[in-house]
Symmetry: C2
Subunit: 656 residues, 2 copies
Amino acid sequence: MASSAPTVVNKNTHLFDKARLDILLNRRFFFAPAFEIYGGTAGLYDYGPPGSSLQANIIAEWRRHFIVGEGMLELDTTIMTPAPVFETSGHVARFADWMVKDTKTGDVLRADHLVSNVLGARLAGDKEARGLTAQRQIDDKKKKKKAAKVTAVQLDDGVVQEYESVLAQLDNYDGPQLGELCKKYAIKNPDTGNDVTEPVQFNLMFKSSIGPTGAYPGYLRPETAQGHFLNFSRLLDFNNGKLPFASAQIGRAFRNEISPRAGLLRVREFTMAEIEHYVDPEDKSHAGFVDVQDQELVLLDRHVQVEGRIDVTRITIGEAVRRGIVANETLGYFMARIYQFLIKIGIDSNRLRFRQHMANEMAHYATDCWDAEIQNSSGWTECVGCADRAAYDLTVHSKKTGHPLVVREALKEPIVHEKDIPEFDKKALGQTYRKDAGVIVKAVEALNQEELATVKETLSHRPVTIKTPDGQSFEVSPQMLKIERKTVKETIREFTPNVIEPSFGLGRILYILLEHSFWSREQDIERGVLSLRPLVAPTKVLIVPLSSNEKFVPLVQEVSAKFRKAGVFARVDDSTATIGKRYSRNDELGTPYGVTLDFASVQNRTMTLRERDTMDQRIGPIDDVIATVVELVQGTIDWNEACQRLPAYDGVQAID
Amino acid sequence: MASSAPTVVNKNTHLFDKARLDILLNRRFFFAPAFEIYGGTAGLYDYGPPGSSLQANIIAEWRRHFIVGEGMLELDTTIMTPAPVFETSGHVARFADWMVKDTKTGDVLRADHLVSNVLGARLAGDKEARGLTAQRQIDDKKKKKKAAKVTAVQLDDGVVQEYESVLAQLDNYDGPQLGELCKKYAIKNPDTGNDVTEPVQFNLMFKSSIGPTGAYPGYLRPETAQGHFLNFSRLLDFNNGKLPFASAQIGRAFRNEISPRAGLLRVREFTMAEIEHYVDPEDKSHAGFVDVQDQELVLLDRHVQVEGRIDVTRITIGEAVRRGIVANETLGYFMARIYQFLIKIGIDSNRLRFRQHMANEMAHYATDCWDAEIQNSSGWTECVGCADRAAYDLTVHSKKTGHPLVVREALKEPIVHEKDIPEFDKKALGQTYRKDAGVIVKAVEALNQEELATVKETLSHRPVTIKTPDGQSFEVSPQMLKIERKTVKETIREFTPNVIEPSFGLGRILYILLEHSFWSREQDIERGVLSLRPLVAPTKVLIVPLSSNEKFVPLVQEVSAKFRKAGVFARVDDSTATIGKRYSRNDELGTPYGVTLDFASVQNRTMTLRERDTMDQRIGPIDDVIATVVELVQGTIDWNEACQRLPAYDGVQAID
């Protein structure tokens, strides 16, 4: 279920230098391996100050875009979950990946990754043998040692096609099929050359135990969703009993990945933002669809993929729903809103597509799923899942607990229809079965109309055998039970809602946003820049006093206080580094604006303003510059407008 | 370490009706037992929409007050932690509570709670026998069945005094002492009357396993602090190598409590906000202390408590530091800032005190600790710990990993002094010990000045025995090693910072804030009100159209959009309930303001404004009312000022 799409050569990123970005992110402590001084633990990362801020800003915008913007009901439910919940939801049985072991060393490998890795290396070797190596060499530099070794061996054209087809539908294979692929293509552990075992399932949930007795197993949630579903009745009540509505939750989730190796893209602990939108299964229209129907999206549907192809369609979501490519308006509405959110925070629209899951790839609870995938140096990565979970979860929990997770809707016009109704002669039943009479009545009352018709037919000539849920059987005679056809007037419609679930992996989005924002200045390739939008940038403004001269202190305090009052997050850099170095450091931190306080500021109350991407500098009275920056950060003006307000600064920086 | 202070009769809350509040919080879904439809799990709670919003608002203010206000470095580190980290930090060995088992049923009880419970019941029984029962009856109604049964038996005056003294210093007893108390006072399991076992330690960390092999145990963090300490070098680097600075983190932590029973006050999973402030151990002054020194606080120091008393001192923090009651300025600074934060969000200042930990009560890592305790219906509850962890954590991790977690400070003036310096004749050493020569050199270089002096003394007449860390011993002759007295000039001072840690339990604060905010209207005891301040209220304004008449729709949309644009969170209630009922519901949700749109609004563009606590109603042009509410919510005006702008509304509500 943790899906990764077929890897495609990324045409837009051949100039992108991942090694340089990784160094920057590590040096500036956007994030780093957790427990690094203990040697680190695969798949666990800590966010430092700029990473935490960036994450907090993405979350704040998510909250505005979805929760506040659409009046969703926010939740905060527990991570630790007693085992029965995940037994019911199917996660204990089915939330697993396939793993193989090296038959000699016992090393553990994820089966689909092994196949992808080895076949990918053979295809790369084939390209090298055919003299098509330029691209690969650049690619290889970016990768660490994780890939299988590439040897220049040319393959038959048919084999190349076969491998490419396997890779295109990799997520569609189950464990036994992956095992067959290993045998068919003689796939061995590339690190040792040893054979691997048959794939076996490894459950991805972290297990623990609740309380001091050891008798109550618990799991760390692998998604926040169950916390929504278990509270459905309370949420419905909070919403005055009305559908549709959505609950939303931002929180930590855990997956004990078999061998996480891809930085923030595959981790064991991560922050998710999940929406569960509850909708009438008979009406999946959405009132807001009209506002988003003209939104163009790039779609890769499942029919294309099972044919081993990866060609996409650019289409408005309105047209996609009309043509039935996307199943319903609500699913389409959220795909458009997901797109708009990602673009707003700065994801490159040319590297964003929606890929439909293939049948075998889907999580056990989903009936349809479109992933927002974003292209990055590792290929296309699922960052948001948009799944139709239908009535799966509410139904299974309802059945297990006996607590009805349903909507009861007053019908505008009562429905009058005929129905078979069981009627017991309780005296006759009681005389024969005494204390068992109750369970027999309950068992009959639980039968549906079809089953009741069969019972009725049997009773017309002989006693019927009734089975109770605990496995007992009872002979019930026509004297004890009659089934009568009656006219019934129903005023309430009771149904289990369907659930549309947009589910965001915030760490993946954050990392890819950093990739999309990273570049180096032509004049100095060493000077990295993160062009993060003001909306998400960790710090909005850097305040730079020319030197540590005491004359600047009151001005620095004044400017800081004014930015703080306007709600604009500013930092002062009063270190002894040159102004150029201080700005460079902040280009790496993604700080969009910088203001410099020098002797002219003291004399004339002016201040220069620097824009990060262009390095353009403007000058103006301190209060005008502050007002301009506040508007830039709030997004009410752009840099061109700022330039109309503030003249260019071409003076030489005054030196202390 | 999970401390609870001696229970004291709460004089201010005898009119407070906890049962009524609990019903309100449950019905309005502030929070509810997690997995309720599965029967719930003790100590795990889910927050519904108003609870989540309230928590988010408290967190936002915490971020403003501490992180933004003081330029702290925010972190977001992982919850899942490999075992070696907590082995080093001492949590595997010592983060435990004492539990006893019922000798017949095997029921598990927390030892200190058992003693408190049984002796408390005996004291209550004594009061009843003495005819002092009025208070107890009211108290008992509020409590669920958790308390031991009270029987009216009068005790000797000496016994009463003894019990009271035990209860006042309950947190000071270790396990064996609690076991002795059980024997001395014949304390049995109150539910069964059976004896209990000797207390044994139960580690409070949830355990799990990282990765597919089962070979790497991990724990869920019981505090966020270790994530700060392990990143100390990166944080210091981010801060340009300068002290003091602080890191801050808001996140989930877990404690597998033995028998959590007190609602949000003792839970197994909770959100914390922790600050680690790194300071020079030789200079614990604080630049901001001058701004807070006049802040008055109520203190309960450890000397008073070990004498079995609970009398407090009201004193300015400046005076408390001068007198040495509070150890240093930095600790005092944070106590004052904690106080100011709690008051700002709405905690009652009369029910807030700082209690110093007694010696045995302190966590294993702390050298001093003051808890901000807030009085509530369960007594005084620790909500914020303010501990001086000294250099404990940085030292143990540094020692274990070999990674120096230190500050290197350039000395303004070099220090010149004499020092013993070891000098090897590496040739002579190598001839004798070959490949072991290296470890011998390292072992000698690791010796401190005192040890070197001993070695020097020995070498003056015979060879010396050097022990290496791996347990080997080597005879080193005066030919191989000389210790020389030399003059050394040091330009760098290297030291391990001390850490002052304010640590907030947000769930406890949230719950007690709800208690402090709750009251009922005199004219109608059933109508509960939560007087939450606008700063933290889940919703700031309720928009109430008189009816579902279509004429109101454009106005509702206009007013909603204007509040949204101003950043004021508003909700529309267009249900069919009467306006009175809708306002009542929102009094329970703590919504401070309500605006009503009626036919006068359509005709004259006026709107009425209702204030929750006074139920006072004002009227004015729609845009004036919006502007007034925005200022009220931002806190730039109060209700009196609002009343000067908007005339009283005394009209009868127009009826549809």
